[in-house]
């Protein structure tokens, strides 16, 4: 029982260390664990982005904060971990979300050559990007996300620290988010 309860709660609280769109004291803080090579993760991210747009228009920019953490499933998605590293390398250069969106938009093309191409298209410092990727400097952060997440599969979503267990349908998800804050 205890274990079940633990799994339904976010184990590491949202912090400034996270990649976020919005403010930490927002009415609703969404923490998503995702895998760049997983189509459901991409769909869920797209859904959440649409919800965020709509709710921000209705309740203001500070209503919803979106946080993304890595959960590459390397056994089934051979490019997912490298893609996460590319996102982290872009983060160092202040372009996490642009790289993040690019990776989800091109999840059929995540081989290493494409990762460099995306970094180049975003105008990143390529020698720096290559150094970080080849030395795997971001692997620890990604592994921390995986190990501390308390989840076994991606995507996983926590709404104000509580695991969302409903279906991945936009109306159902939006209802759950609005219900949390009212």
């Amino acid at each position: 029982m205890n274990q079940d309860r633990d799994r339904s709660l976010l184990s590491i609280p949202a912090s400034t260390q996270d990649h976020m769109q919005g403010v930490l004291n927002a009415d609703v803080v969404l923490v998503v664990y995702g895998d760049y090579q997983c189509s459901v993760s991409a769909d869920v991210y797209k859904m959440i982005k649409a919800i965020k747009r709509e709710l921000s228009a209705a309740f203001g920019e500070d209503y919803l904060c979106l946080i993304f953490r890595h959960f590459p499933q390397t056994q089934i998605h051979p490019h997912a971990q490298r893609a996460a590293q590319a996102a982290e390398a872009a983060a160092v250069q202040g372009q996490f979300w642009l790289m993040h969106d690019t990776l989800f938009a091109h999840q059929q093309k995540l081989e290493n050559g494409y990762l460099v191409e995306y970094a180049n298209n975003l105008g990143l410092d390529i020698p720096q990007f290559l150094k970080e990727l080849s030395k795997q400097v971001h692997i620890d952060r990604i592994n921390e996300d995986i190990e501390n997440g308390g989840i076994t599969t991606a995507p996983a979503l926590f709404i104000n620290n509580i695991r969302y267990t409903g279906r991945w349908r936009i109306t159902e998800l939006m209802a759950a988010i609005v219900a949390t804050s009212h």
Binding site: P78, E111, G113, Y114, L115, I126, F129, L130
Partner: protein, 210 residues
């Protein structure tokens, strides 16, 4: 009923257990085939080959310790009639070229459908080659590309690690001018105008890895 002696005995070498399990299930479902051993890396593949002498080996390319290409070369040097199919996620023309040059008779990508995989195993087991048309086209492309020299490959490998010309000069104990000459030749051979594009093309083609 197929008797044990006419069954095609298959060895699978892949560092991902989930891939090995999936392949085993697909292959064992075919009444004419059976998976006799699995290896997690290139060295184990060589050892398993020696022990079991399978009819057909499915070999991943990027594996820890001993790579797929090295394992194929070692096995083919020792066992002339070895029948090996490369099964990989990498479709760069250099990967294809190196795999086949090492002695593989077939080259499949991991998104291949099960019936095509089984066909490929049957074809290679009969002593024929199995090269899908898109793989063949890339091989032709590779054969038409100018060959990079060993030193150029070294320089390119360091470029892919984000090193500047002066870093590369220090790492290889050569002058920066010599590095520049190598870089210019690399750009020209790869048909690109800058080092970033050189790295992108080289990584995509499998000439260097990140």
């Amino acid at each position: 009923m197929t008797s044990q002696s006419t069954m095609i005995r298959v060895l699978i070498a892949d560092d991902h257990s989930i891939v090995r399990q999936g392949l085993t299930t697909i292959i064992n479902r075919d009444p004419e085939m059976t998976v006799i051993a699995q290896a997690e890396d290139g060295q184990q593949a060589i050892d398993c080959f020696r022990e079991h002498q399978p009819d057909v080996t499915l070999m991943d390319l990027r594996m820890p310790q001993v790579s797929g290409v090295e394992a194929i070369s070692a096995i083919c040097a020792e066992f002339k009639p070895a029948r090996i199919i490369v099964l990989t996620t990498y479709d760069g023309d250099e990967d294809i070229y190196r795999g086949l040059r090492a002695g593989a008779q077939g080259y499949l990508l991991k998104d291949t459908k099960s019936n095509e995989l089984l066909n490929a195993i049957r074809t290679v087991a009969c002593g024929q080659q199995y090269i899908p048309p898109d793989v063949g086209a890339k091989l032709v492309q590779r054969l038409n590309n100018p060959e990079l020299r060993e030193r150029e490959l070294e320089v390119l490998g360091l470029m892919a690690r984000g090193m500047s010309n002066s870093d590369i000069a220090t790492a290889l104990s050569i002058s920066e001018n010599t590095v520049k000459t190598h870089v210019n030749r690399i750009l020209s051979k790869l048909g690109v105008s800058d080092r970033t594009q050189a790295v992108i093309v080289a990584v995509k083609r499998g000439i260097v890895s990140l």
